[in-house]
C-alpha cells in the first residue's frame, strides 16, 4: 500500500525569550493508506506538536513532511487552509463541535466547506451518523449530547468529506474507559474501511487496542515503532 504520510527528519524548535525548546527532534516515519497509528508518550513528549505539523498548522524547523505526495513546505500559506480543508480530517479532545449547529449540520459543515454539499452527500452524512448509532440524535444540538456522542459526531465530521488523512488529538481524554474504547473502535473501523491514513495522539496506552502501529515518543523523538500485534498487546498490558 502507498504511503500517505511521510515524515523525514522532522524537527521543531520553539524559541521564546532567548531560550530554545526542542519539541520534536529528527523524527522519521510513514503511514500507509488504511493504516491506523497510535502516537503515544507522556505529556511534553512532542506528540501534539508533531500532529500540528502533520496538519500544516505549524511549520517544521527542519525536515520534510509529505501528505499524499504534497510537500507541505511547498504549499503557500494561503493554500494550506484549502489543503487542510480537503486532505485532513480532524478530531480534537472535546468541545470541538459547532455549538449552534445540529449533529447533522456539524457533519455536513465539512461538506459545505469543501463545496461538496449535494443530496447524495447529505444522505451519506446521515448514513454515517446512523452507522455511528446517532440516528435518534441527528437533529439535536451538541449541548444535548453526552461526551461519547460528541466524539462520535466529531469522528463522522472528520471523515465525511473523504480526506486522505485523519488526525485525532486525545479523542478519548474526556471519556470513561468503556466509551473511550467504543470511540477508538469506531475510529479504527472507519479508517480501515475508507482506506485513510489515521493518526491518534494519546497518552493512554490502553487506547491502542485497535491501532495497527504504535509510535512511542519521548523527549521529541520516536523511541520505538511497534507494529507486531503481540507486542502491542503486551505494551498495553504494561500500561
Amino acid at each position: 500500500m502507498e504511503n500517505i504520510i511521510e515524515a523525514n527528519s522532522v524537527s521543531k524548535i520553539y524559541r521564546m525569550d532567548g531560550t530554545s525548546v526542542q519539541a520534536v527532534n529528527d523524527v522519521t516515519f510513514s503511514v500507509r493508506a488504511g493504516e491506523f497509528v497510535g502516537l503515544v508518550g507522556p505529556s511534553g513528549s512532542g506528540k501534539t506538536t508533531l500532529l500540528a505539523m502533520l496538519a500544516a498548522l505549524l511549520d517544521p524547523s527542519g525536515g520534510q513532511i509529505c501528505i499524499n505526495d504534497h510537500d507541505l513546505k511547498q504549499i503557500h500559506e494561503k493554500d494550506r487552509v484549502l489543503f487542510r480543508r480537503k486532505e485532513i480530517g480532524f478530531t480534537f479532545q472535546a468541545n470541538n463541535l459547532i455549538p449552534y449547529l445540529t449533529v447533522l449540520e456539524n457533519v455536513e459543515f465539512m461538506l459545505r466547506l469543501n463545496k461538496q454539499y449535494t443530496k447524495e452527500n447529505h444522505e451519506r452524512a446521515r448514513e454515517l451518523l446512523v452507522r455511528l448509532g446517532m440516528e435518534d440524535r441527528i437533529n439535536v444540538l451538541p449541548r444535548q449530547l453526552s461526551g461519547g456522542e460528541r466524539q462520535r459526531v466529531s469522528i463522522a465530521r472528520s471523515v465525511v468529506h473523504n480526506p486522505s488523512v485523519v488526525l485525532a488529538d486525545e479523542p478519548t481524554a474526556s471519556l470513561d474507559s468503556e466509551r473511550a474504547y467504543q470511540v477508538v473502535k469506531i475510529f479504527a473501523d472507519l479508517i480501515h474501511e475508507q482506506n485513510k491514513a489515521g493518526i491518534m495522539v494519546t497518552h493512554d496506552l490502553r487506547m491502542c487496542k485497535y491501532v495497527d502501529k504504535i509510535f512511542q515518543m519521548k523527549d521529541g523523538q520516536i523511541v520505538s515503532a511497534i507494529s507486531d500485534r503481540q507486542a502491542i498487546e503486551s505494551l498495553m498490558a504494561c500500561a
Binding site: 505549524l58 480543508r85 459547532i98
Partner: protein
C-alpha cells in the same frame, strides 16, 4: 454563502440572546431618532418662515450682527434696494408677536405677526383663499399650523390682542387666505399688510404726533439670477447706505439661540451614537472572547479567515439592522401619540443621517471583534500557540 449560513444559524439558535441585544440597539435607535427629530423639529420651528422664503438675500440694518429683532430698517431704503442691478424684487418684512383670541374662553394662542409687502418676497403663497393684495387692509393670511390648531378657516374674522402703550388693544381682521406651515421662532405665523402690521404690532407711546418712518426688521431680496448672490449682495451694500446683506442660510444661523441649540442637540446625538458604537463593540467583543476556542477549531478544520470575518460582519449587520428597524418602528408608533405642540419632526436629512449612522455603528463597533477573530490561531484547537 457559508458565512451567511454560520451567522444565521448562530443567531437563530441563540435568538433569545440576540433579540435582547437587538432591543438594546433599538433603545439606542429610539434615543438617537428622538434627538434627531427634536433637533429637526426645533430647527423647523425656528427657521420655517425664513427657509420657505422666496428670496435669496436678506438686508439688515448695519451693525446689528444680522439679528432680526435688533435690525430696524427704514422703508425709505426699499426703493433704493429695488433699484440695484440684479434685484428682481424686494419686500419689507417686520416681525412682532400677538395673541390670537380664541372662542369659548380658550387660552389665547401666541402667534408671530409678520408684516409683509403684498406681491413681494415675504408675502406667502396661499393654499386656500387669496393672497394679500393691498398694503393697508384689515385682512390676514394664516399659516397651516394655526388653521389646524384653531380650526379657523378662510372667510372667518379673527381677533388679535397686542399691548400698545401698556394697554391691551384688540383688532378684528378677516382671514382671506391660508398658507402652509411657516413658523417663526416657534410661533405659528399670521401675515398681514405692512401698514396694518405697523398699526397692530406692540409698541410704546407715540412720539407726540411727529411723523415717524415705518420700519421693518429686514428686506427680502429676490434676484434676477440666483447665481449672482455674492455680486448683488456686494452691490446692495455699496449702493444702499447702512445695510448689511446676507444669504438666507447665514440669516438662519443668526436666529436667536438657533446655532447653540442645534450644536447642543447634535452633540447629544453624536455622543449617543458614540455610546452605541461602544455598546455594540463591547457586546460583540465579549461574544468573540467566548468564541475563541470555537474559531480555533473552525480554522483548524479549514475555515478561512475570509469566511470567519464575513460571518462576524454579517452577524453584526443582521443584528444591528434588526435593532435599528425595531427601534425605528417603536419610534414611529411613539411619535403618533405625541401631542402636536411637541416640536419633533420625523423628516429631513437629519433623520436619514441618523438612521444611516445607526446602521453604520454596528459594523464600526464590531470592527475590533473582526480583527480579533482574524487573529485567532488554529493551533488553539490543539492547545498550542505559535
Amino acid at each position: 454563502m457559508l458565512a451567511f449560513y454560520l451567522s444565521f444559524k448562530e443567531i437563530w439558535r441563540n435568538r433569545g440572546r440576540f433579540l435582547l441585544f437587538s432591543l438594546v440597539i433599538a433603545l439606542i435607535t429610539i434615543l438617537v431618532l428622538f434627538i434627531a427629530a427634536l433637533a429637526q423639529g426645533l430647527a423647523t420651528a425656528n427657521k420655517q418662515f425664513l427657509e420657505k422664503l422666496d428670496a435669496e438675500l436678506l438686508v439688515f440694518e448695519k451693525n446689528t450682527n444680522t439679528s432680526i429683532p435688533t435690525s430696524q430698517i427704514g422703508r425709505s431704503k426699499l426703493p433704493a434696494i429695488r433699484n440695484v442691478q440684479g434685484v428682481a424684487a424686494a419686500g419689507s418684512i417686520g416681525f412682532s408677536t400677538a395673541t390670537l383670541i380664541l372662542p369659548n374662553n380658550q387660552p389665547g394662542l401666541d402667534v408671530a405677526l409678520v408684516g409683509v409687502d403684498p406681491n413681494s418676497p415675504g408675502s406667502p403663497p396661499v393654499l386656500a383663499g387669496r393672497e394679500l393684495l393691498t398694503t393697508q387692509a384689515n385682512e390676514v393670511v394664516i399659516d397651516g399650523i394655526i388653521a389646524s390648531r384653531t380650526h379657523i378657516k378662510v372667510g372667518d374674522t379673527i381677533t388679535l390682542k397686542t399691548i400698545q402703550d401698556t394697554k391691551e388693544k384688540f383688532f378684528n381682521l378677516r382671514v382671506v387666505g391660508m398658507t402652509d406651515g411657516r413658523q417663526y421662532l416657534f410661533q405659528p405665523a399670521i401675515f398681514l399688510p405692512y401698514r396694518t402690521w405697523d398699526t397692530i404690532r406692540p409698541q410704546g407711546a407715540t412720539t407726540g404726533g411727529a411723523l415717524v418712518e415705518i420700519t421693518s426688521n429686514i428686506v427680502a431680496v429676490k434676484l434676477t439670477n440666483p447665481a449672482d448672490l455674492q455680486t448683488v449682495a456686494a452691490r446692495i451694500q455699496s449702493e444702499v447706505p447702512s445695510v448689511q446683506v446676507v444669504d438666507i442660510n447665514t440669516a438662519i444661523l443668526s436666529l436667536p439661540g438657533y446655532t447653540v441649540q442645534q450644536q447642543t442637540l447634535n452633540s447629544q446625538q453624536f455622543f449617543t451614537l458614540l455610546i452605541g458604537i461602544l455598546v455594540i463593540g463591547g457586546f460583540f467583543q465579549i461574544q468573540m472572547l467566548q468564541k475563541v476556542p470555537l474559531i480555533g477549531v473552525l480554522k483548524a478544520i479549514g475555515a478561512s479567515n475570509l469566511i470567519i470575518a464575513h460571518s462576524v460582519i454579517l452577524q453584526i449587520v443582521l443584528v444591528s439592522s434588526f435593532g435599528v428597524l425595531l427601534g425605528s418602528l417603536i419610534t414611529f408608533i411613539l411619535a403618533l401619540g405625541m401631542p402636536p405642540n411637541v416640536p419633533i419632526l420625523f423628516s429631513g436629512n437629519s433623520i436619514l443621517t441618523a438612521v444611516l449612522s445607526l446602521l453604520l455603528i454596528g459594523p464600526l463597533g464590531g470592527l475590533v471583534s473582526v480583527r480579533q477573530a482574524i487573529k485567532v490561531e488554529p493551533l488553539i484547537a490543539l492547545g498550542l500557540s505559535s
